[in-house]
Every structure is written in C-alpha cells, then in structure tokens.
C-alpha cells in the first residue's frame, strides 16, 4: 500500500513533466505542423542557460533563472521558428522532421563540447524536505512539480479558451486560411505558440534538473516519452497530452516495480503501438474526418 | 438495353446530416448520363459511394447486375469501372507517358509479370495512341506536373480511358477548362463513347456542356432525385428551375 502511494506520487511527478513537454509538442503540431524531434533537448538546454549564466555571467540563481527563461524564449522560441521552421515549412512535414533531428544532435553536441560532458548539479528551487503520507515518504519536490505542472497547463487551457488571443490561436490551429480571412494575424499566433512551447520546456527544465541533474543527454528519453504521451493521450488535445503524460509516468513506475525492470522501456512503446493501431486519435482525442 | 450500372436506394449521411437520401437509377450500355444539381446536392458523395471511396450508409450498387457495394476502388477499377476526380489527380513527378502506362499496367498480366516482365507492360503503343488522340504528343515526355491546367485535365481524362473501361464516371470534366479545349474534350468523349461503346456518367456544373454531351440527365437536389429525362425535357422542368434558382 505505502509502496503503491510511493510509486504513484513519483510516477505522477515524472508524468507531470512528460505532460508539460507533450503539451508544447502538441501545440507546435497543431499550429504549424511542426513535429519537433528536438523537444527533449529543448528541455535539457534551459538548465544549461541557467548554469552558464551563473558560471560565466556570475549571476545569482534567481537572476540566472530569469536570464535562462529569456534565453529559452529567444533561442527555443523565436530563433527556432525564424531560422528553422519558417524556411522549411513550405516543403511539407518531412524536411522539418529531418532538421529537428539534426537540431537535437546539434544541441546535445553543443552542450557537451562547450559546457560539460558530465552531469551537473542544479540548485533546488525549494527546500528538499520530505513528508510522510500513510507511511509513504514523499518528496516535497515531487508535489511541487505536480502542482506547478498542473497549474501551468490549467493556466494555458484558460488562456486558450477564455482570452481573445487564445481563441485566435485555436482558430489558427484549426483553419489558418479562414483565420487569416477573419483578420487574425496568423503569423503572430504561430509565434505565440512557439513562445509558449519555449516557456513550457524551460519550466520543465528548472523543475526536473534539481532532481534529475543537468546533462547533455537527458533529452533523449524525455523527448521520446513526451511524444508517446502526446500521441497516446490524443494529438489534437491539450488535456489528452496531460492524461498521456501522467499515465506513462505512473505506468513506468508500476511496471518497473511489479513486472520487469529490463523491459520497463518497452511498455510505453506497446501502449503507443496499440493506441496508434486501434485508436489513432488517442485516448481523449477527437477523431479527425479523413476522406477524399 | 441491359443496365451497366444500377443504384438502388443509396443513402449516405455524415454524423446525422444526410448527404444522399435514397437515390435509385440505372445506366444503360452506351449511354452518356449526366448528373446535375446545385452545390451540396450530393453529387460527389453519390459518386464516391458508387466508387467505394466512401461506405454508403445503406443501399446497393450493381455493375452488370453484380453487387459491388463497398468494393475497394482498385478491384472496382479492375472490373472496368474507371473515374476522374473533381480536383486534378495526375502524378506530377511521372511523365505523361508514364502516367498513362500506370493507368493501364494493373490490368495487364500478374504481379509476377509486372515485376519481371516488360517495363512498359507492353503498353507503350496504347499510351502513344492515347497521347495522339488527346493531342498531348508535344509534352509526352514532360513531367505531368509541368503541364498546363488544361493539358493536365486532358491527361486526367485520358488515364481514365487507358484500360478500356466499360463504365467511366467523370466528375466535373469541364471544370476550369477554356471553351475551345472544352469543345475539343466533348468531341473526344463522344468519339470514345461511339467507338469503344464505353458508358459514361458525368457530373457537371456547366449546363451547356452537359446538355450538349449527354443523352439523358438526372437532377439531384438536397440528396434526392427530383427529375430525369432528355436534356430538353429537363431544361424545361419547373422543379429543376426551382431547385437551381429557388423562389
């Protein structure tokens, strides 16, 4: 029982991170048909922005966090869109997939060559104390992660649904042409989604780095699981991504604990294949009309 | 005359909204049947249901009395039913000749012979005849993607005839084609109809084109058959006028 609670909380914490990353991933897909194979690296990089600001810029941690966020928005948001996505989007999906794959390699190697090849400790945002619930020891960090992630996504949901800009963004996602006719500044809306994605990954980065440590290769698995979460949950649904993320996080822990550690990596993949074959729109997703 | 194509009480609805609400008709060997109707009257849906692109909600489609409802498009085509699409559907990266050979190759020999046999599946002469017939000789080796719209339209039609089909369904063949070429196209269709004894069903907006081409006309409105008969009769039919111009 206590074990179960233990596993659930840990799983939810990890899952919350997957969710954050997956949400950004789906946003990009919806508004600009960008499948970002570098999404995992996007989570890895901001932590190093922060570390670099402290190491080279001699900034204090809070300042460094701010600088890191700004850098993320600029590099992973604006530059990513302007330099990589915009020139390529007209060629269709595949070239963009290819260059995000290359981008992932680029970011990894860049961090390895110019910062460090080994894992770096990352300052915690809050006291690393534990609390005990029905015998299970739960790190405050985990609860904060879950809380912040859910809050962030809820805020995003609200923004998309309730604000003018948010609705314009959704319109852009559903039918750019019509949106343009309706006088929505589509280009700007798309840019917003890229900024939001950058913000989400930066948030994920500072949330996990204190626990998972900052390392150039951290993105590899994270990005992959985030994709899977997005697809399993429902590619065209923000809440789908959340569900997918949490589900995978919990599942991973339960499988490792009660089934097999050697094949823990396989379970999300089976889930992915099953979902794609039997419910391509995802567990919570809407089916998209596909006809001639 | 026996019916080449029989449609019985065909219904198709998308999530409650009925696009085709119980349509029945027959097409006889050698005739050129036109189907007209205002936008959203269900013409294209009807087509796609007949041709297996969409699953009809209910009803039956027969070719030569043989039920083919829900048959895969490729098998249907092998039975000698071919079609053109409302929007251009050529293979832009293949040359005109390759497009035509492709249109015929699956009707030749077996999978094995298509791998090990001749590269053109013996269709070059047929393709060249088709090219001459549609006056595409000047661009025969160009990639289809580089042809003018009108030329692509001709190629599109030519592909439909490549396998010598018994029944051809043409979805707005006249769409976006300039008048001179239109007359040309009409002539070609007539000739083929006469020469190959091919049966045509034509969906068209262009009244003049339909009236001058077809031997019989069906009028569709809101997914139902509201009138049919010879071009002149239909032209005068008040229900048709109402359907088009409302009141």
């Amino acid at each position: 029982m206590t074990d179960l609670v233990q596993l659930l909380v840990a799983g939810l914490a990890t899952g919350a991170i997957y969710a954050l990353v997956a949400v950004g991933f789906t946003l990009l897909w919806q508004t600009s048909q960008t499948i970002n194979f570098a999404q995992g690296e996007f989570v890895m990089v901001p932590a190093f922005f922060v570390l670099a600001a402290m190491k080279f810029g001699g900034a204090s941690f809070p300042v460094a966090l701010l600088l890191g966020l700004i850098a993320s928005l600029l590099v992973l948001g604006v530059l990513f869109k302007k330099l990589l996505v915009d020139p390529m989007i007209r060629h269709g999906v595949l070239p963009l997939v290819i260059s995000t794959i290359a981008l992932a390699l680029f970011l990894k190697e860049g961090v390895k060559e110019f910062y460090a090849a080994d894992a770096q400790p990352f300052p915690a945002l809050w006291a690393t104390t534990n609390i005990t619930v029905v015998g299970a020891v739960i790190a405050l960090q985990n609860l904060v992660i879950i809380g912040v992630a859910i809050a962030a996504i809820a805020a995003l949901q609200w923004f998309l649904a309730a604000t003018r800009t948010g609705r314009s963004m959704q319109a852009t996602a559903q039918n750019p042409l019509l949106a343009r006719i309706l006088g929505i500044r589509v280009e700007r809306m798309i840019l917003y989604t890229f900024l939001i994605n950058a913000g989400l990954v930066a948030l994920a980065s500072v949330l996990i780095s204190p626990i998972y440590l900052a390392k150039f290769s951290n993105g590899e698995t994270l990005g992959l699981v985030a994709f899977i979460a997005a697809i399993v949950g429902g590619f065209n649904q923000v809440r789908g991504a959340i569900a997918g993320g949490l589900l995978l996080g919990v599942l991973d822990n339960l499988v490792a604990a009660y089934v097999s550690t050697q094949y823990r990596g396989a379970i999300p993949l089976f889930l992915l294949i099953a979902v794609i074959l039997f419910r391509p729109q995802g567990l919570l997703g809407r089916a998209e009309e596909r006809s001639v | 005359m026996s019916a080449v194509l029989e449609v019985r009480d065909l219904k198709k609805s998308f999530g409650g909204i009925s696009a085709v609400g119980g349509v029945s008709f027959e097409v006889h060997a050698g005739e050129i049947l036109g189907i007209i109707g205002p936008n959203g009257s269900g013409k294209s849906t009807l087509f796609n249901c007949i041709l297996g692109q969409l699953q009809p909600s209910s009803g039956e489609v027969r070719i030569d009395g043989k039920p083919i409802t829900g048959m895969r498009p490729c098998d249907l085509n092998r039975l000698g039913v071919s079609r053109t699409f409302q929007l251009l559907q050529v293979f832009p990266q293949l040359s005109v000749r390759e497009n035509l050979i492709l249109a015929g190759q699956e009707h030749q020999g077996s999978m094995g012979s298509r791998l090990l046999g001749r590269r053109d599946a013996g269709l070059t002469p047929a393709a060249n005849r088709m090219i001459d017939f549609f006056r595409l000789a000047s661009v025969a080796d160009e990639k289809a993607g580089r042809l003018s719209y009108g030329q692509q339209k001709l190629l599109d039609a030519a592909m439909a005839f490549m396998a010598g089909p018994r029944l051809v369904l043409l979805d707005e063949p006249a769409g976006g084609v300039n008048p001179t070429m239109l007359a040309d196209l009409r002539e070609r269709l007539r000739t083929i109809n006469a020469r190959e004894k091919a049966t045509f069903v034509v969906i068209e907006h262009n009244m003049e084109f339909v009236m001058s081409l077809c031997t019989r006309i069906l009028v569709l409105a809101e997914g139902r058959l509201i009138a049919q008969g010879a071009p002149e009769a239909v032209r005068r039919d008040p229900r048709v006028i109402e359907a088009y111009f409302g009141n």
Binding site: A102, I228, G265 | H107
Partner: protein, 328 residues
C-alpha cells in the same frame, strides 16, 4: 537526346566502377574498411530509399532490420551454418517482419507511422540486449567468420571489400530493375497520390506491404554483411541512432533519387574523416550542414546537382516530400 545521355551515363558508371575496384589497391586497410562500411550502409540506405523515397512510407525501423539481419547471420554462422544460408535467412526473415510492420502503414500515415516504426526499433534493441540466451546480450557475439565464396576466402580486408562491393553491385542492379518495372511505377504512384492510384486499379495495400518488406529485406542484407565485416556485434549499434542516421543518409543524398543513398552513405561514413581537423566538432558541423541543406534544398545533394546541371528542371520539393500533400 536519350542516346547521348545513356552513353555518357554508361561511361560515368564505368568510371565509378573502375574507381571502386581500383580504390583498395591505393588504400591502407583503414580506407578499405571504410569503403566496405560504405558499401554496407549504402545497401541499408537503398532499402530505406525504396520504402521512403519511392513508396513514400516514412520508416525509422531500418536500424532494427540491420540488427535482425546482423544477428541472424552472426548467430547462425558462429553455430557453423554456411554463410550463404544464413545470409538468405536474414533477408527472408527481415522480408517477413517488414511485411508485418507494413500493416500499421496501411492504417496510419506521416508522424504516426514514424513513431510506430521508431517504437519497433527500440523494442528490437531491448530484445537484443535482454534475451541473453539468444543474443549473448550486452556482451555481444565475437569471432564472426567471413565467408568463403566458391573457395575464395574473403578473410582479408581487401577480399571482403570486394565481396561487399559485389553484393552492392547485385543489389543495385536488382533495385534498379525494380524501380523501373511497373512495380516501381506503382510505388511512385502510391507516394504521390494513393487515392488516384487505387482508382486506376493499383492495389495500394499490397504495394505498401511489398515496399516495406523489400526495404526491410535490404536492411537485413546489409546487416548480414555488417556482422562479418566488424566480426563482432553487440546491440548498441542497432539502436534508434542508426535509424536516424540512415534516414539522414537517404535525405542528404536525395530521397527518391536512385543514387541518393550512395552519396548520403558516403557523406555519413567519411565525414568524420574529412572533418578530422575539427577534433570533436564534426557532429556539430554535420548537424548544422543537414539543417542548412533542408532549408535550402530539401531534395538533398542530388537535388542540388540537378538544380546546377539541369536549370530546366527547377527543383521543387523532392518526390518523397511532395507525396504527403495529396495523401488522405
């Protein structure tokens, strides 16, 4: 025009063959090894080019098939089976598995398919690593023998290079025949417009499965040649990285161009050598190069070549990329 082109083509082809045959005599074992590796990788990339470039089905599973092929060959030959038999079995096995993997492709497209195949690669890696009784797990299989072909021992680097080159030659001829046959035409139709293809009697379902199976079989063949080349295999080289790498080879060379994989594999195999002077930075440079290429000429190096030498043919999207837009 065609006769003149064919002639010069033949001459160029002969020139290349001459170079490939002469090369090992001017090279040290290292160079020969790299060229052998190039030949093997080219075969794998040709397989992917068939699936992706011609039939328009994106697949990230090629590494898995190279792995399956390599392990089949390694396990059987170290058990004393004749290479020829192991070789054929590798190809057959990959053909069968590839056929099965094709079924998802009938249901889903684009990124969905990419992720199914990606998942498959990772699953195969896990099996190779965890099923020690079969694959010796992380320890890998060593002492893989190089074959004797009709009494000709390919043990020495140069001999084995010629063996790989011969295989590459055969595969090239076979694939060349295939893509020019009605099958190849049907593949391209599948890539450019499956709906229209179906309406012309092309059995899209069957051709999709065939495309997957054949592409995978070539992957298996590459694997069966890779194992005796390195003479040791463990699961690590057959992880997702190789799939991505092969994908890059096809795209960089020019997806849908018959000779694209040759060039792509050449770049990917020799780049570290060319960029030696940059110390650790060559991966960075490669990545930057790929991104630039995608931005300016997504049809790959051969696309550039076409642009340069045939201004008439204004290179727009490469065939493989254009596909998706008309797909349902």
């Amino acid at each position: 025009m065609t006769r003149a082109r064919n002639l010069s083509r033949a001459i160029a082809a002969l020139a290349v063959c001459a170079v490939l045959v002469a090369a090992p005599f001017g090279l040290k074992p290292y160079g020969i090894y790299l060229l052998s590796l190039w030949a093997v990788m080219t075969i794998a990339a040709m397989g992917l080019n068939l699936t992706l470039g011609y039939a328009g089905q994106i697949s990230l599973a090629q590494a898995a098939f190279v792995g399956i092929g390599a392990y089949t060959a390694a396990i059987l030959t170290t058990q004393g089976w004749p290479f020829a038999l192991a070789f054929l079995l590798s190809a057959a096995l990959c053909f069968a598995i590839g056929w099965l993997l094709g079924y998802p492709a009938l249901r889903v497209q684009h990124h969905y398919l990419a992720f199914v195949t990606l998942a498959f690669t990772t699953l195969v890696f896990l099996v190779l690593r965890n099923e020690e009784w079969l694959t010796r797990g992380i320890y890998g299989i060593s002492g893989i023998p190089r074959p004797d072909v009709l009494g000709w021992s390919t043990g020495a680097p140069r001999d084995y290079y010629f063996f790989c080159l011969g295989m590459l030659g055969l595969v090239t001829l076979a694939t060349g025949w295939l893509v020019r046959s009605p099958w190849g035409r049907a593949f391209m139709a599948l890539r450019e417009n499956p709906i229209r293809a179906a309406s012309l009697g092309v059995d899209t379902r069957r051709y999709t499965l065939i495309a997957f199976a054949l592409g995978s079989a070539l992957g298996g063949i590459a694997g069966a040649l890779y194992a005796p080349l390195v003479q040791f295999i463990d699961p690590t080289p057959f992880a997702l990285g190789l799939s991505l790498n092969l994908l890059l080879m096809v795209i960089v060379g020019g997806s849908g161009f018959f000779f694209g994989p040759f060039l792509g594999a050449l770049v990917s195999v020799l780049l570290p050598e060319w960029l030696r002077f940059t110390e650790g930075l060559y991966l960075l440079i490669y990545a930057a190069f790929v991104m630039a290429l995608m931005a300016f000429c997504p049809s790959g190096l051969l696309g550039i070549a076409e642009r340069l030498f045939r201004p008439a043919a204004k290179t727009d999207d490469p065939p493989a990329l254009r596909a998706r837009k008309t797909a349902p």
